[in-house]
């Protein structure tokens, strides 16, 4: 039974009759005597009877075969257009919705190829937004968990932003499933593999989308991830990381009142470059920042200074596409002035607050204070004579329903959250801690980590290894309680190591 893999008929026959998916995957992947390009052409052709192979194959059961054919056809149609019949869009849509993820994982690079081609096709047709649900389906169903990054993720976010069609679905994906794993595979097409830039782009765009939808805390996380992505030693950080830093600083001012300290592993090059841009002055002038020189200086001068700084560099911000954020920052500045007032005063009249903030209209000040109370930025009460009394945070944790919802995840979608009892909460926290311990273990097992640990010596012995209780020295002396012999710490034995 010599399978004929040089003609489309033969391939279709193999696809429909094969029982062994791995063998089929191998057959489809290896182009054999003909070259790769010829194989793509074969995959893209119609059958000898003139029939469209896609009408013969089942989209779900023959996912593997359909994947190869669809991706080859779209690719060649876009690049060469040499008489290859474009697959009908309805078929592409249906496939993306119902494909079998297990089969797809045997040749993930074809799914990535398909994602890229269909996006390009949609763009050339001027209907980019059509690609969004398809990309979403591909990106979320291909990997095993929703928190795994594939090469499709950043294409999804880019398409969403370019089509200006941000949906609650995308926001939910970003907030509830932050990335903690990468989908890596070896394949013969290196440009369809997950790259360093994909990760940067995904997190940067994720931050942009979350800022647009007002989820500032999550946006800050995403920008930080993009910003602190490690690059190989001695290479400079990417330009995109500098952009992420700028946006991070702006969002931190808007949402938290001032710049927060960056993680220790941030590249110092980035902070140095930022210092020389107008952003640094802007941030320093913001009321919540530590450097703000007008602490307790006259009223509203700080706000005027901010406005001056902005108007001076307006074109610069516009050219960097950050003008919107900068203007939002100026608009939010009064809030943080008020927040600082809570540190000094217990009660204050609305008119006086207005003087500090630089707003004359008492109604506007009242509205501003009310907004801050609503968003729980301050805890205060207003009396009918217009006196605002600031209160301290109550002793009991004022945990709101929404804070708990993300922690509990799926559990709480139907149940009434007010009846959640302590054991349920404990259980949710336990699940999170086991997950964290598992991640910790995985990192501890990884080859690079152990290699570095041995190199840097006993100093880090007690660090983040789950408390093994025994350190290891630099390949020389070992604590008496262990039976380990020097040779056992060679790299190729790391998977038999036992800690603690």
């Amino acid at each position: 039974m010599a399978p004929d893999s040089q003609s489309i008929d033969g391939l279709v026959q193999q696809i429909t009759t094969s029982n062994n998916l791995e063998a089929l995957a191998h057959t489809l992947r290896t182009s054999g005597t003909s070259g790769r390009d010829v194989r793509e052409f074969i995959l893209a052709s119609s059958m000898s009877s003139g029939q469209d192979p896609l009408s013969v194959l089942d989209l779900r059961n023959n996912t593997l075969g359909v994947m190869y054919i669809l991706s080859a056809r779209l690719n060649i149609y876009l690049n060469a257009q040499s008489g290859v019949q474009r697959p009908p869009w309805a078929i592409v849509t249906q496939f993306c919705e119902i494909f079998d993820p297990e089969q797809a994982r045997l040749a993930p690079e074809r799914i990535v190829m398909l994602a890229k081609s269909l996006t390009r096709y949609a763009q050339e047709q001027g209907k980019l937004k059509l690609a969004i649900p398809l990309l979403y389906s591909l990106a979320t169903r291909l990997p095993i968990t929703l928190s795994t990054l594939t090469p499709i993720h950043h294409i999804l976010l880019l398409t969403t932003l370019q089509a200006r069609h941000i949906t609650p679905e995308i926001t939910r994906l970003l907030i509830e499933h932050p990335i903690d794993d990468l989908y890596m595979y070896s394949n013969i097409y290196p440009d369809h593999n997950l790259s360093y830039i994909d990760n940067l782009v995904y997190h940067y765009l994720g931050g942009v989308i979350l800022t647009k939808t007002g989820n500032y805390t999550a946006a800050i996380d995403y920008f930080e991830t993009a910003l602190t992505a490690p690059s190989t030693t001695n290479s400079p950080p990417a330009g995109l990381q500098l952009e992420a830093l700028k946006k991070l600083r702006l969002v931190q001012c808007i949402a938290m009142g001032g710049p927060q300290p960056l993680p220790k592993y941030t590249s110092p090059v980035l902070t140095r470059i930022l210092k020389s841009t107008p952003y640094q002055n802007l941030i320093n002038a913001f009321p919540g920042s530590l450097h703000a020189k007008d602490r307790g200086e006259g009223p509203s001068s700080g706000n005027n200074r901010l406005k001056q700084l902005v108007s001076k560099d307006r074109d610069f911000y516009a050219s960097e596409c950050n003008l919107g954020l900068v203007e939002l920052l100026v608009a939010e500045a009064p809030k943080w002035v008020i927040k600082r007032l809570t540190e000094t005063y217990v009660t204050l009249g609305l008119a006086e607050i207005g003087r500090y903030v630089g707003i004359d209209d008492e109604q506007q000040v009242r509205a501003l204070v009310l907004k801050m109370i609503e968003s729980k930025t301050i805890i205060a009460t207003i009396s009918d004579s217009g006196i605002v009394t600031f209160h301290d945070a109550p002793d009991t944790a004022d945990v709101s329903v929404e804070d708990i919802r993300t922690l509990l995840g799926d559990v709480a979608s139907g149940t009434n959250l007010t009846e959640i009892s302590v054991p349920v909460l404990l259980e949710a926290v336990q699940v999170q801690s086991t997950h964290l311990a598992q991640l910790d273990m995985e990192v501890g097992r990884s080859k690079e980590f152990i290699a570095k640990a041995i190199k840097t010596g006993g100093g880090i012995s007690s660090m983040s290894m789950g408390g093994p209780g025994s350190g290891f020295g630099p390949g020389g002396a070992f604590p008496d309680e262990d039976d380990y012999v020097a040779g056992m710490y060679a790299n190729d034995r790391e998977d038999t190591m036992v800690f603690g």
């Binding site: 782009v201 942009v208 009396s383 009918d384």
Partner: protein, 272 residues
């Protein structure tokens, strides 16, 4: 691959708008057979070039009965899902019948208090649709809501309702849906305002309260009294009572042995 890209891809607002404008320009030369497999019964027939206002294959009009149904059942999340899906899959998004889907969508976002996304929806509309009186009304309502300008919220909402009540407004079903949704919005908005004011004010004048609720004294006082707010008729001052919106956590009724085991286990895990 350690060097960064020369320029970042066009990702931020202005650049994206430019890209979208380029895409919009080529949207008019669209091939009709790129129809989606959505639940609207659009077939693969090519669209007639200058489309007459009402078309049988119009996905917006086709989905509207379902939207109206969901609105009457107050199932906002499903309404949003279906509306967003129609928005993505519709091939011609320049036509005015898009209002059938957009207006309920925005109103649903407002009812759910999801303000940023409501604004994003408004921003992505093409110019002609944004200029239509219905959308400009809706836009000013959203703006007022975002600014927390209570008086304006009520006046804009009323303006919207009045607008669809005019005889010139020729879509009675849409008018019905708009009326119902605006009412829902006002009622959920008043609830939220109520909770906020109970927390934020120790005492307030009656006129201020009337402004916040958009109701006259005679409608307002009974509701306030029902929630325990004290009213001093001589000075016309209301004293709100802070309500517990959601009590933090109910203490467990009776602690069982199973609970104890569970907690002990959790603590022992902490030791690791």
């Amino acid at each position: 691959m350690a060097n960064g890209p020369p320029t970042p891809p066009p990702t931020t607002d202005v650049e994206i708008q430019d890209e979208a404008r380029m895409n919009d320009a080529s949207a008019l030369a669209v091939e009709a057979s790129s129809d989606p497999a959505s639940q609207s019964a659009s077939n693969a027939a090519p669209q007639p070039p200058p489309s007459p206002p009402i078309q049988l294959q119009d996905p917006y009009q086709l989905i509207f009965p379902r939207i109206a149904e969901l609105s009457s059942q107050k199932r906002w999340i499903e309404l949003i899902d279906i509306a967003e899906m129609t928005e993505i899959n519709a091939s011609n998004d320049q036509q005015l019948s898009r209002l059938f889907v957009i207006v309920p969508l925005i109103l649903a976002y407002l009812i759910q208090n999801d303000l940023p996304i409501a604004k994003l929806v408004l921003e992505r509309l093409p110019i002609d649709i944004r200029m239509s009186p219905l959308i400009s009304n809706l836009g000013s309502l959203t703006k007022a809501y975002s600014a927390g300008a209570y008086e304006q919220i009520y006046s804009k909402a009323n303006a919207l309702v009045n607008m669809v009540a005019q005889p010139e407004f020729q879509q009675p079903e849409l008018a019905q849906v708009i009326n119902a949704m605006v009412e829902c919005f006002l009622s959920s908005f008043r609830d939220r305002t109520f909770l906020l004011l109970s927390r934020a004010y120790t005492s307030m004048t009656l006129s201020l309260a009337e402004m916040y609720f958009g109701l006259g004294a005679d409608e307002l006082l009974p509701v306030a009294a029902r929630h325990g707010w004290a009213y001093d008729t001589s000075t016309k001052v209301l004293k709100p009572v802070p309500t517990n919106e959601t009590a933090s956590f109910f203490p467990p009724a009776a602690s069982s042995l199973a609970d104890f085991n569970f907690i002990a286990q959790s603590v022992s895990l902490l030791e690791m």
